[in-house]
Symmetry: C2
Subunit: 340 residues, 2 copies
């Protein structure tokens, strides 16, 4: 049988026979600073634990203007990439005394705006945002309003001077392409999304640059999937790409990878003999595909840690210092890209 009523600071102070101020000092570890008597302090602490005192965060926030909360807006928290990164953010934030509030935008600006505005009125101290298409305007506005600290994750908004942490998408795609070429594939293509976000653009650019550097400018082939009907469009695109002569594919995303694996299975295309593959992000599914998938692994933990580090830093030091960071991916080589 616990205590039925939540006990407030006032209750604790009363029971301990001191003023609320003193109780507040002690319970916030500022005993010395405010020269509270040693025994008084101990007494207050014991009374507090005895009454199982839990500070009321609403009151704390109201008073301090801080919530010790950061908002995180991802595309879809049920997507393994984002659920993993969210988990890491949660852990890292907890270490630093922050709670995290999640929201999924489904790559839709309107949803994103709603979530952001909710987070804002919850008074989050900062936000980690995965921007979606057409969100540049809202996010720019938010940034300029100065109402909260912002850090962009996974993708950035060109020209906007806001902190950003993400993969070095250019080099990741570049390396994946070079790897395929070195493995003996002649005409690798890329399967991407039909969206204008920076991570996608950079991956495509990396692929194209690698091809150009190897004198294969004329063999550049990029197939685009509609990101709201990935599964449906994958069959067609894979078919078209292979018909057009691609002997390998770089799959630009987690979801694209899975969709294309299904397509390849249905179309009965031999991997890697007829088609080499490099995927993105990693998944158990990659391992069980009959020809386990080579993929670019994102160091999710590092990305999350850096993101939280930077945003908490911004919150603490109210310094408008924008910090950005590109994290290098790691190519995990498996069978799907080994010609022999």
């Amino acid at each position: 049988m616990g205590n039925i009523k939540k006990s407030s600071l006032k209750d604790v102070a009363a029971k301990a026979g001191v003023s609320t101020a003193l109780a507040s000092f002690v319970l916030n570890g500022k005993g010395k600073e405010y020269r509270v008597g040693e025994q008084t302090a101990k007494h207050i602490l014991s009374v507090a634990t005895e009454m199982n005192y839990q500070p009321n965060m609403a009151a704390k926030s109201l008073r301090s203007g801080k919530t010790n909360t950061i908002g995180v807006v991802v595309s879809d928290i049920s997507n393994p990439f984002f659920s993993q990164i969210s988990r890491c953010i949660e852990d890292e934030a907890a270490k630093r005394g922050y709670t995290v509030l999640f929201g999924s935008s489904d790559e839709d600006v309107d949803k994103l705006n709603i979530i952001v505005s909710n987070l804002l009125s919850k008074g989050v101290d900062g936000m980690i945002i995965v921007p979606c298409e057409n969100s540049a305007e809202s996010i720019t506005g938010l940034a300029e309003s100065g109402k909260t600290s912002i850090l962009l994750l996974d993708r950035t908004i060109p020209g906007l001077n806001v902190s950003y942490v993400g993969l070095n998408n250019f080099s990741a795609a570049y390396n994946a392409t070079v790897h395929l070429l070195d493995a003996g594939f002649k005409t690798p293509g890329m399967v991407a999304y039909d969206i204008a976000l920076t991570h996608m653009r950079e991956r495509i650019r990396g692929y194209k640059k690698a091809m150009a550097d190897r004198g294969l400018k004329d063999n550049i082939r990029v197939g685009y999937l509609k990101h709201n009907s990935v599964r449906k469009s994958a069959d067609k695109v894979v078919q078209v790409m292979t018909d057009a002569g691609a002997d390998a594919l770089i799959l630009a995303t987690n979801t694209i990878s899975i969709a294309c694996l299904y397509a390849i299975q249905r179309l009965n295309i031999r991997v890697p003999e007829r088609l080499g593959l490099v995927g993105f992000d990693g998944s158990d599914a990659f391992e069980f595909f009959y020809s386990p998938l080579t993929y670019t692994k994102q160091p999710v933990d590092v990305i999350a840690q850096k993101a939280v580090e930077i945003i908490t830093d911004q919150i603490a030091n109210k310094n408008r210092s924008v910090q950005s960071m590109l994290i290098e991916g790691e190519l995990v080589v498996r069978k799907s890209s080994s010609k022999r």
Copy 2:
């Protein structure tokens, strides 16, 4: 360039030339109720939108004692099952005007207690909790303290009169077993976790009951994995079970399923010829395993919806009415359980 300062109710009231009370009434849609003049109301509203007024939730919460927030404690939000269910909870809660605060316990009571206590001081109106081992005491205490509404998810605590939503684990396992027997397997075994949680117990019970009902009491075999070293123990357990004569396995969990698939791949065991399989929860990996996995699918969306429905109901109607609900699983039949 947005407004630099956040505007408070007082600011709005001042600019509109009315008292804060009136502004509050109008902005909460209680204009009629408190007989506010029609034009005054309109005027206040226009001033509010003009100033881009956002209510301060901390103040609202402090005053009302409500936060319109529910806490959700899962084992690990990066586990696909929980990330999917979290996503559904988020959506359903949003529909009802609630925000969700997530935490991952890692199946550890201490972490769970910390999370719960944080949620409590954040003042969540209710909590959806996936209880872990040895958490019965804390949760019972929490429930009895009456400090918040509680709903248990996925697993329950026997003897504790608290709302619960989860799969009908007994019938799911029972049906999976019967399915294997009907498909011609003679001696199916089960691979489970060495934990005492109800969902596990029920799955095991369902399996055993089915075996007993078919007169196979003597062929009951349950192998246990340590849940903190699933991958390591899977090889041994799978080996032992097959050596002991199991010609099929029911894999009691998402994670167990994946771990055993890796083991089976390493041990080079033919599925379904030498070993039939039924997994749990579903995963893309199941589809790419060379012999696609039959599995018990949990209707995650229904589970989440019911959970949110019940908890919000409890919060609203302060009625201590405990509601529980078992959801039926669905067996998705694929190749791994077809002898022929």
